[in-house]
């Protein structure tokens, strides 16, 4: 076994060349999402013997014929009893080539908010379709959501091919219909259709003998080889989480800003602007995991020490070498998915969280509701649970934001219902206007 003597990392069993791939699975109820994930876990030998044993036993108890691999992922009692997936479950597996994080998301329309949640952190969305039923409203909704939140690719897994006699024409008809829908989206995404049987394993890990007409890769090979498109370097930003001040001992004079780097690389000596104040300073030192480093890139959790004692607090943003400067303002237009029972109407008030800034948000305009099946934009007086739409918000604080398609990390926001603190919306910044 290839244990690296310096890092203690097993070079054979742990991905060595590619970065982690985050996947969300979506599709309508019973299209076979849980079975597919169970199949991936099983065939990559991620399932442990005691887990498999428990599933075999439970399959017998619930009266399933074949061993029901879906029971590996349906983790809640109500889900096992009703045979549906209610909530996002996260799964982890690795092949010699890559590590994967899978969000198994629910199919019911009433859990669309969980679909948004699962898709929001994913690089690739696997949208399942039952080959017998073809494209459903949920299929379109999920393809739309995947593109809205910025998935880099959609895999259209046409499942249960065993039940349609591996019919090539059926597969092509479904693929063409989804392709046409995705082409009409505001942000089209590449679609890769694959004919599979999650239950029997065809074209999941191993190539199927039943689909000689299919020349593409099996699902896992596609995912292993998928190359993530790096985001363009728009210039580094650090949304300040906290000021680190030891206030005593050896480091009594130390003062640094803790946060995550997004958008680009930050280096010692870089000039930074503190937004929204506009004050400037220079990076004296950078620390990651308690060690000084010369530079830090996207995703790195750092502490930034500035040259001069400028005023910086939680919620402020350090901006360096911006190719595309972030927007500063308090009047913002967002696309959102509504996630609670209380509807959103003009004049309604919410809390917002953006980056590390929070405050009040008042809805000043409801621009439209988006019909996920037809992609038509409708006038609306309110958006209700699971609706997708566009609104304009007046914020109580200025935020330093990016348009979502420019830099997702700078363009995402949540709204919270002040009545009960529930998370009411996932929102994506489209435009931001500075105060007059």
């Amino acid at each position: 076994m290839g244990i690296d003597t310096d890092t203690g990392i097993d070079t054979e069993l742990v991905s060595s060349t590619s970065s982690t791939l985050r996947i969300a699975t979506a599709g309508s109820v019973d299209d076979g999402k849980s079975t597919l994930i169970g199949r991936l876990l099983h065939d990559t030998k991620t399932v442990f013997e005691d887990q498999l044993h428990a599933v075999v036993k439970a399959s017998r108890r619930y009266g399933d014929g074949e061993t029901n691999l879906a029971l590996l992922t349906d983790g809640l009692r109500a889900e096992r009893e009703q045979g549906i997936t209610i909530d996002v479950a996260h799964r982890y597996f690795a092949t010699p080539r890559r590590s994967f994080i899978v969000a198994d998301t629910p199919g019911h329309a009433q859990y669309t908010r969980n679909m948004v949640t699962g898709a929001s952190t994913s690089d690739v969305a696997i949208v399942l379709v039952d080959a017998r039923h073809g494209v459903l409203d949920q299929t379109r909704r999920h393809a739309l959501i995947a593109s809205m939140v910025g998935a880099q690719a959609i895999v259209l897994a046409v499942n249960k091919m065993d039940l349609v006699d591996w019919d090539q024409a059926r597969f092509h008809a479904i693929s063409a219909e989804v392709q046409a829908f995705v082409d009409a989206l505001p942000d089209p995404v590449p679609v890769t259709p694959i004919p599979i049987s999650a239950l029997l394993g065809d074209n999941v890990v191993d190539r199927s003998e039943h689909t000689p007409w299919y020349t593409g890769e099996p699902l896992l090979a596609f995912l292993e080889a998928f190359e993530l498109r790096p985001h363009g370097d728009v210039g580094a930003r650090v949304h300040v989480q906290r000021v680190i001040r030891p206030q005593g001992g050896e480091h009594a004079d130390f003062r640094g800003q803790a946060g995550v780097v997004t958008g680009g690389w930050l280096r010692t000596g870089d000039e930074v602007t503190v937004q929204p104040s506009g004050l400037t300073s220079t990076v004296r030192a950078l620390y990651r995991w308690g060690n000084e480093v010369a530079e830090a890139g996207p995703g790195h959790a750092v502490v930034v020490q500035l040259d001069t004692n400028v005023d910086v607090a939680r919620g402020d943003v350090l901006v360096a070498g911006s190719a595309i400067a972030p927007l500063v303002g308090d009047d913002v237009v967002v696309d959102l998915c509504w996630m609670v029972d209380r509807p959103v109407t003009v004049g309604s008030r919410w809390w917002f969280e953006h980056g590390t800034r929070s405050g009040h948000a008042t809805v000043t305009e409801l621009l439209h509701r988006l019909d996920p099946a037809t992609l038509e934009r409708h006038d609306a007086d309110e958006l209700v649970l699971n609706d997708l739409g566009r609104v304009r918000l007046q914020l109580s604080e200025q935020v330093v934001a990016d348009q979502y398609h420019v830099l997702p990390e700078g363009g995402r926001m949540i709204l919270i219902d002040p009545a009960d603190n529930s998370t009411a919306a996932a929102a994506m910044v489209q435009t931001l206007v500075a105060p007059a």
Partner: protein
């Protein structure tokens, strides 16, 4: 930075480009965990870190110390002490809090029993594991903690796989899996009302293998029972339980000596050892990578009782 020289924390950088590539996944998990810890500690007023002395909480505490360096960890750690401890674990706990300069709070299950808050099961298979939930919730209320960091991982159990990074608990400390707050982009909503609290799981996306890779990379000290040693044990339900502590022998059981190590560390009455020659972290890494049985299935009598054992305990306020 010299800050960490005061502590026992070792170097954390890895040098060559190859290593950076090979450990990209662990790098990302590390950044993610530190970011979550900083965010919750800043958004909440009075957080605490739950520390069992096990490997997950050791990694969690290590990350928390790094998150605020060179400042001191801005919140205490709390050990929910079942009284059924491995001596090695208590020694280890006390050494670690001293070396890493953190504040320790101990919540005692024995005290909950003495005060009549819980009633202890009796008999040879009695475990205090379930009683911990009451002690934990009482301590959270007594100290007014509004957030408790835990080392839970989604790969541990099916019910955990459903849990959010920030898990909301009502005034009774209950978890309602059907009313969880969505976390789009892993953005955290830490708003609560008085009397409610949050559980935060910065290691949500880690697997057992990731934990060991982190321990190897950063030389995180662990209680010695994680590495192979000779011990008198008895075999029960396919598990090896240590003899000499709270485990009472049942008729027909014969204790024997074996070379074992622990994969998890919990209440000594229900945590089993596995036969193993893995004497150091490198051996353990190889063993974990090749393992075919989950750590809980192999070593926790309490989780094998029913398919929903963990979900039921979590609803009651368990870790």
């Amino acid at each position: 930075m010299t800050a960490l020289d005061e502590t026992m924390l070792p170097h954390t950088g890895d040098s060559t480009a190859d290593h950076r590539q090979a450990s990209a996944h662990l790098d990302a998990l590390t950044d993610e965990a530190i970011t979550i810890i900083r965010e919750v500690a800043t958004a909440c007023e009075n957080p605490v870190l739950l520390f069992s002395g096990g490997k997950d909480s050791a990694v969690l505490l290590h990350l928390a110390v790094l998150a605020f360096a060179p400042a001191r960890l801005p919140f205490p750690v709390m050990h929910v002490d079942t009284g059924h401890n491995f001596d090695e674990v208590i020694d280890y706990r006390d050494r670690l809090v001293r070396d890493w300069n953190v504040r320790l709070v101990v919540a005692s299950v024995q005290e909950s029993i003495d005060k009549g808050r819980v009633v202890e099961d009796t008999g040879p298979r009695a475990s205090r594991n379930r009683l911990q939930s009451v002690t934990l919730l009482d301590a959270i209320a007594e100290h007014g903690f509004d957030a408790a960091f835990g080392g839970g991982r989604r790969d541990e159990d099916k019910a955990r796989a459903k849990e959010r990074i920030l898990s909301f608990r009502d005034r009774q400390g209950r978890w309602d899996p059907r009313q969880q707050r969505p976390e789009p982009w892993a953005m955290l909503n830490a708003r609560i009302r008085k009397g409610e609290h949050l559980r935060a799981f910065p290691l949500s996306n880690w697997t057992e293998l990731d934990i060991w890779r982190y321990i190897a990379r950063h030389d995180v000290p662990l209680p010695s029972i994680y590495y192979s040693h000779r011990r008198t044990v008895v075999e029960r339900d396919g598990m090896l339980l240590a003899v000499g502590g709270p485990v009472e022998l049942e008729p027909g059981e014969t204790p024997f000596e074996a070379t074992v190590r622990y994969r998890t560390v919990g209440d000594a009455s229900c945590t089993g050892a596995v036969e193993s020659d893995a004497a150091d972290v490198r051996d353990v890494l190889a063993e974990v990578a090749a393992a075919r049985i989950t750590e809980r299935g192999a070593t926790r009598a309490d989780d094998t009782f029913s398919e929903s054992a963990m979900e039921d305990r979590k609803r009651e306020g368990y870790f």
